[in-house]
Amino acid sequence: MARRKDLPIGTVMVLHALARGHRHGFDILDQTGLTSGTVYPALERLERLGLAHSRWEDAAIARQEKRPPRRYFEITPTGKAHLVEALERYRVLSPVIIDGVRHPKGVKPA
């Protein structure tokens, strides 16, 4: 089993999106702006690591909405704990001020 510690940042972002309540592939794709080549394997991987789990949408609902049933993902408690840890780790990426570049919203030059 792959180690959970060194999840790549893309996977962490997917986990983050799940935590915020986005539940399936395309939704997450839109939210994170990641490529589809990252998102789908990442979901698969998160499930294998036990950080997320997936279930099929109730067929009745899908029929009502006249579309195929979706595969919904949810973050697990382990996933939540892991996300906290991972976000802590990626805090090194806290906003910085770079000369000549427009500063992101909310960050003021010192």
Binding site: L29, S36, G37, R67, P68
Partner: protein
Amino acid sequence: MSDVSWVARAVFHVAEVLVPRHRRAAWRRQWDAEIAYKVRASAGQGTLGLALGAFAHALYLKREEGRMTGYLGDLRHAMRTLLRRPMFTGLSVLTLGVGIGSATVVFSLAEALLFRPLPLEHGDRLVTLYSTNPSTGWDRYNVSYPDYVDWTARTDLFASSAYYQSLQGDLSGEGDPARLSGARASGGFFETLGTHATVGRTLVADDQDPANPAAIVFSEGAWGRLFGGDPSVVGRTVHLDGDAYTVVGVVPDEQSWPLSADFWVPLRFGAHPPQWADRRSNHMWEVIARLQPGVPVDAASRQVAEVADRWYGANATGTEVGTTAVVVPVRSGVAPDAASVILGVMGLAVLFVLLIACMNQSNLLLTHASGRVRELSLRSALGAGRGRLVGLLLGESLLLALGGGAVGLALAGAVLSPVMRLAPVALPPYLAVRVDWAVLSVAVATSLVASVLAGLIPALHGSRSSVAETLKEGSAQSSQSRGGKRLRQGMVISQLALSVVLLSAAGLTIRTFQAQLSADAGFDVRHLLSFTVRIPGARYPDGALRAQYFDEAVHRLEGVPGVEAATVTSRLPVGAARSSLYRVFLFEGAPEPPAGPDFDGAWVTVGADYFRTLGVEPVRGRGFTRDDGAGAPPVIIVNETMARRMSPDQEILGRRIRSWRDENLLREVVGVVPDIQFSTMSGRAEPAVFVPAAQAVDRQMSFLIRTAGKAAAVVPAVRAAMADLDPDVALADLGTLDSAHRQGLAGVRFVMVLFGAFGGLALVLAVSGVYGLVAYSVSQRTREIGIRIAMGASAGSVQAGVVAEGARLASLGIGVGIVLALGAARGLAARVVGLGGLDPQTFVGVAMLLGAAALLASWLPARRVSRVDAVKALRTE
């Protein structure tokens, strides 16, 4: 999917194929939903991006699947590779099978004979206590009563204990009198064993009270044999050695101790043992004890030894100095010492066979691997890491070893029962040597070890191949790297060396066996019949009556047609080693130990015609006559070894000696006789004294009868004569001395056969190793040989070169082996009683045998050289 562009659709289809079959349906459902969402959200725009996502997803699933089955995949591949090369595979499996099979045989023997606890409740807590004295070299002998009391007093170590004495007795009144073996045991004996009676009860402490009727317990085996398994036998009175006993119970054979005992009677001392039993020097008891739960055997042994050391350290004199105690677990315990030594030696031998087999296998694998350098390089070029390649190669070797294990197990199962027929002891059914789970797991474990042993070097070596070099055209030779060749040669040399050791050991045991079988027993062992009787004390209460019985018996036997002479003795010559009565002797007037010297020697009582019956003439002085009776002056005859030891410079004839502390009667030495063998194994040089039976009568005596023709022919007449004299006395161990003599060598024969077999296997394996190496080297050098022949070299000279390579390996291997074998022979001779030591003829013989075989093995492939067609050989490259 109709709203999706055809490119995206194509990508989806390709991706779908990539998804492992069992996940395909779920994958498709998920993507149907994703596409539906996308189509609804953006009217079919950007579906190509989605398709790429599906592709990445499919790739991920495939990779994940691959990670799980990667190793299994390797194994499957390995299996296919092996099946494509049946010769190689068959040879490997057979080679390893022989090694693993040998190991399995020896392990099954050891398991049954040494490690299998008795089928008793917590049998692993049963121990035996022995006296032992490292300073005199007396190992594990019986315990005296005071020692027993001292040693077992530690109730924190022992839950219960008992002492007993093995004995034999004649059961009469139940058809023909039968000689049974059994034990006289103290109270608590069966309690300590944890034996439960199948019928009636076992012995209890009350049975030791002489006021109660004498009780006897039979084993199920004896019960079936003697009473037809009739349960109403309980309460019946039987006569053992003429004494009446009441049968109180029957115990299961597998809960019996000592092994194959027929009966048990209580020790009946009354409240206290008599004085003779109470002496510290009287090492007459065997002791069993049950450890308290959780007490380890070695801890108990240490603490009991401390108790013993304290007493002997303060009080011991003479040979008692240095006496201590040892506690050993009761295992099946068939001759535990001898068996463990023999099996230890066998274990080593079998380890050698296994090593040789593994090295052979290594060589085969190396050869095999060098034929597929291309394949391995290609795999490595395609991204297989070294670990993966090692795994692949080890996987093959694992499969081969497991195959070998199966073959080995089958071989072991096939040879076990013939091997056991040769064993020096007959085993009770519950100790049957068999292939069971323990043996099976050892075989599997051995296979795994063998697979690593045999496979690791070739795997590491094979995985090292450099891609660039080996993928180059015409680089088959690069596999024949210098290192690889060295490795192979080293292994062949080691194989040869180990074979020399095994073959030498085999040769040594064979020569010892022959030497002992043909050794001069000191008399003619042919045409001699022997048997042993024990007359009941109740009907023969005093010495005069007993002497009269034996006199009359000898007289009647001499009257049997075909009998030339007959006599009695307390100790039969030749045959299996028996316990013997040793006494300590002093010259008249000599100061007693420790002030003066003492001499120990075997105490043998003999009839008047003993020496005449054996055909032994006194060297000096005279033999015994019928005049040396009870009332006549006490006389004694010593053998040459005894005479030399006691009186090296002075004539011993006419001097008077006494057996100090025992008989203590001064006896005049009237004769010196040549040494004879008392046990076939230990040979002749044993100090012994002979005393007229009429002057020291015992109840148990053996008869020796010299016949004119075949000894076996007079057996019926002898039986009739003895039954006529007293029908209730059983004739035990009736047989010819000649066969007893041979039987005495059963242990050596067993070792010899096993060593012979292992030596033979080693020879075949090592020689096939030489053959393999030389043949391989010839096949690799075809081109070179072709060039040489093209340049005008004669086939003969090229062949000589090839054979010389084999000869060089053989001489190195044999040289190293001889050095190892010299050391091994010394160790072997020190451990196995009766084995001769260094024997130059054996070593020369082994060296020549192995050398010749190795030369033959190199000559066979060398012959092929002459068939090399120079033009063809050159063209192939």
